[in-house]
Symmetry: C4
Subunit: 336 residues, 4 copies
Amino acid sequence: MKKFRTRVKETLDPGFGTRYQQDAKRLINKDGTFNVIRKGVGFSSRNVYQDLIKMSWTRFFFATMLLIFSLNTIFSLIYMGIGMEDIEGEIRGQGFFHNFSQAFYFSFQTFTTVGYGRLSPVGDLSSFVAAIEAMVGLMCFALVTGLLYGRFSRPNISLEYSKNVLVSPYKDGWALMFRIANRRQSLLMNMKASVSLTFKEATNGEMMRRYFVLNLERKNILFFPLSWTIVHPIDSESPFYEIDLNTINDYDLEIMIQMEGFDETFGNVVHSRYSYLPSEIEIGAKFQPAFKTDKKGNVILDMDDLHIFDKVPYQQSEMGNQKLNADRNIENQKEK
Amino acid sequence: MKKFRTRVKETLDPGFGTRYQQDAKRLINKDGTFNVIRKGVGFSSRNVYQDLIKMSWTRFFFATMLLIFSLNTIFSLIYMGIGMEDIEGEIRGQGFFHNFSQAFYFSFQTFTTVGYGRLSPVGDLSSFVAAIEAMVGLMCFALVTGLLYGRFSRPNISLEYSKNVLVSPYKDGWALMFRIANRRQSLLMNMKASVSLTFKEATNGEMMRRYFVLNLERKNILFFPLSWTIVHPIDSESPFYEIDLNTINDYDLEIMIQMEGFDETFGNVVHSRYSYLPSEIEIGAKFQPAFKTDKKGNVILDMDDLHIFDKVPYQQSEMGNQKLNADRNIENQKEK
Amino acid sequence: MKKFRTRVKETLDPGFGTRYQQDAKRLINKDGTFNVIRKGVGFSSRNVYQDLIKMSWTRFFFATMLLIFSLNTIFSLIYMGIGMEDIEGEIRGQGFFHNFSQAFYFSFQTFTTVGYGRLSPVGDLSSFVAAIEAMVGLMCFALVTGLLYGRFSRPNISLEYSKNVLVSPYKDGWALMFRIANRRQSLLMNMKASVSLTFKEATNGEMMRRYFVLNLERKNILFFPLSWTIVHPIDSESPFYEIDLNTINDYDLEIMIQMEGFDETFGNVVHSRYSYLPSEIEIGAKFQPAFKTDKKGNVILDMDDLHIFDKVPYQQSEMGNQKLNADRNIENQKEK
Amino acid sequence: MKKFRTRVKETLDPGFGTRYQQDAKRLINKDGTFNVIRKGVGFSSRNVYQDLIKMSWTRFFFATMLLIFSLNTIFSLIYMGIGMEDIEGEIRGQGFFHNFSQAFYFSFQTFTTVGYGRLSPVGDLSSFVAAIEAMVGLMCFALVTGLLYGRFSRPNISLEYSKNVLVSPYKDGWALMFRIANRRQSLLMNMKASVSLTFKEATNGEMMRRYFVLNLERKNILFFPLSWTIVHPIDSESPFYEIDLNTINDYDLEIMIQMEGFDETFGNVVHSRYSYLPSEIEIGAKFQPAFKTDKKGNVILDMDDLHIFDKVPYQQSEMGNQKLNADRNIENQKEK
């Protein structure tokens, strides 16, 4: 296996360290999280809150239901312990389930503060417990109010990344290309991309992680209403320059992406991470246009079109993947 | 048609791309949005939330009413399905509408947790459904609480832009001028303006969008209590320099404006976009003062005065629209 | 009256403009607001919200009470219009006030969703109105919830400024000095001060505002747990250099202060503005220490001590207020 | 006692001042607060709110309970003052406690708006007071809703700092090292560390605080999923260079740390402060690895492992603690 060329400047690790064990998973998951498990943290109300904020709506729904029904069950059992004769208006009957259902309805009518009054507490103890329950109920809904708002107002970003990184024709050589689009209605501004490459390599017998920043044709755009194709030219400054890309599956590499933008709706800076593995690199391919204009002059951007590409024949040049440093310099000057 | 001069440095597209189809609408709408329709996004609770946050108060009011009345209608029908004899205290009667109205009042008294108790559930099933409804009702109002707060606290900006861009006398030449003012009571600080010009032009038979940044006399102000006149001098660095402005309606151009500021009330950076088309450019005109001082020493800023201008005779000089590069340099030095 | 020397570099106006009328008030009020009245803005829900967020607690309390009592009065009158016989359980009686009070209690029990049920609606119309009122009530309290949170969580800053600007001995000359302290428990960080001078002067017969930035001995501090004395040395770069400070009341000047910091509790950048008029400048005075250490080693910072100073004899040197440019340069080098 | 060498550039104080009295405590507490007591601030609703936001959950729980029970007690006494005959449905009895408990249950049923109706107000006065109480109750829970949300959504950071600062072998000399890890699930990015040294020293008979910034091997990392060891090399630019570290307990010094990062969950910049005293400096020690990989490829980060180190023999070199300026320069070049 050919080693990655080292003429290109290596980068400091972005915080992962260089001494990963060989069986460690990918660094960045598809959802932007890291494969790290924290221990010894103890209980933290904040972590519970953040879990509740980040979990799916289905899980959140069931967690809320579970909490409310558990609390009501506990209070129902307390009322039964106090004695059903302390609750006025219930339909007298026998058996645990009859009494429990009566206590449960009373409990729910108290917890939600609906308090019809057909069932109402008469004894001192049940009156006191009912007062506590009504308060607990209100606290619960106060919490739910905060959680609902927290879930919606959390500044985050939802980008659609193209399924593949393409090795596409670029000027008289090749370039790595992938595309992103905003899945949200919110306006994103001042988008910045930073792409880096990491791979494991045996150095002096020890497995080490190495990191390279990949140069981009363009690092940022002001507005982001459409799709954005991020381009890394495989020129002499690229770590891919002397690699035979047909053998790319042999390398234990990962292309790590970090996007930053300003979400205008929330007035907040948002970040997105993503990573591609070798199996997701498509050698010799070209993206089809991602958007079209309809008859009314609106531009239509379809998320499904983001992934579509055509195959093109790939052939590595003799001198490496690209010879266009000169061209690139001109491009750079234009950009400045 | 005279082409725009190309001696002036062209700018990279701000994210719109250069290959727009000929029938595409303007890039930036008057309300700062873009003419892009997203497809393939699927349902997203976040997008629904953002729509609810951004819609008008009238639409928000009707959407809320619709939700609440629909839920109550559904619960009313469920109670009728269970049987009206399960609700104690209702006025016995016949006919769908009589029963529905009784069920509906009971439903509303449960949903809002007002629970007078004249109507109250007695059967197991109706008691259980009522418990669920009270919970749903509280959740609804939790959501409305969050939405109301979200609508009010969303950091945004409301600027009044003068209806026209004027070509006004400036030093011994001409300049493009437009004015803005803050429609809100909130204090805006550190305002920054960036103005660019885009137009479509046939290049080698293909329609291409081209972009130019317009130099400004002054790019930012620290405080923004009054109006601000943004001035682009038509000097030799301006793309308008060699254009006969009387023929400006012949060009398919758009003047795009991006304002940024810090809203002190929300402690947040806010943005505003706007654009002018050729029909909104007034050749040979001068703004009247936008504010006056009353007898108590208060400065009065009337939004309606922002648009008022006087006509002045316009004549292009021989050498282009302005010859004052020398003067401008002096001005620049003063600014530094 | 001696004119301000113009050897010192003038500054661009910070957004107030230069052509103020002679009878205009001070630019920045003691509470940091500007003397500008906006007209032609029309009704804006956002402005109403911001007023409610910014008003005093007393006014907010009365505004809330007024809203709730008005709504209840309106609903009471509607119930009376429908007819009191539609409300079950009320104490039958005669006279407008008897009926109104019964309707009002029913209305309040509905509005707050307490719904005891002694009073409850029986007719269709009153049941429907009661359903609407319960909903309106919940909306009201949703709004109040948001307003209360908005009032508390609005990122702002409360600085205590010393009552006077002192002309104090500084090295072998004089300096303008004032002090600030944080009135809040919240931690302020990365404080930045910018101080400028504005005055009106007849230039070619026309009254013009002129602006000067005042150099500071130190422009920022990292932490702000104690008081901070902001020092403007009156050296040859100061607009006060050649002024006889004893005649300072003759000038129509204003010292404008803008402070910026990061409030750690809210995680937000906050700003404060303040201004001093000539009558608040104390010529020849020195601040007493603003904090002391108690026996337990705690540092005690008393807001009242911030204003205390001792008089010192002031005498202007021949060559201007200060001759210490050389010293200052050394100081500057140390700071870099 | 050997003085700290002064060849190293001293730093301006970060806001604490230089004239601390000798009996003053440490500058930064372990929880990141400062030892400053504010006086003359007066009552401020904002400070009360911030206290409620920052206090522990236990204290918050008791404060809330205290508020609710106090209000209910006050309203109960008012109802008793009005006369128990004004409350319909209460169980007639004698004695203060019997009546108080009835009034208290009625009060709670009103305050929580549960309003069963078995107890309900009949007289004008009790009806009016009950209306007010229901409103007060709703306001209370509105406040609690805001407080709960405020407590959870306050942007803050919880870092685990290693218990000791180690003097560890580093290249061919020594370095100060400590470690941090994120105790939260939230993602921290763009972490920046700044470390400074302060100590008291008699200068011309007067005790003065002096400040030095400590150079770091690396000042920031992009991602922070694992632990981060912050390293200050004791080279010729270090104030520790000529100090015999075995005598470090003789100095009245404090190592002050300020961390800054971007919390992605809250979309906010967060800060953490910490400080080490001489007794926490471990001379001659080396950290054990802080994380390991499990069989599934997950990286396990245990907070308890953060503090574990092995002892290594420490010996100061003749020329000072380190001679590796040359090496350091190379390192720096690599970093750039």
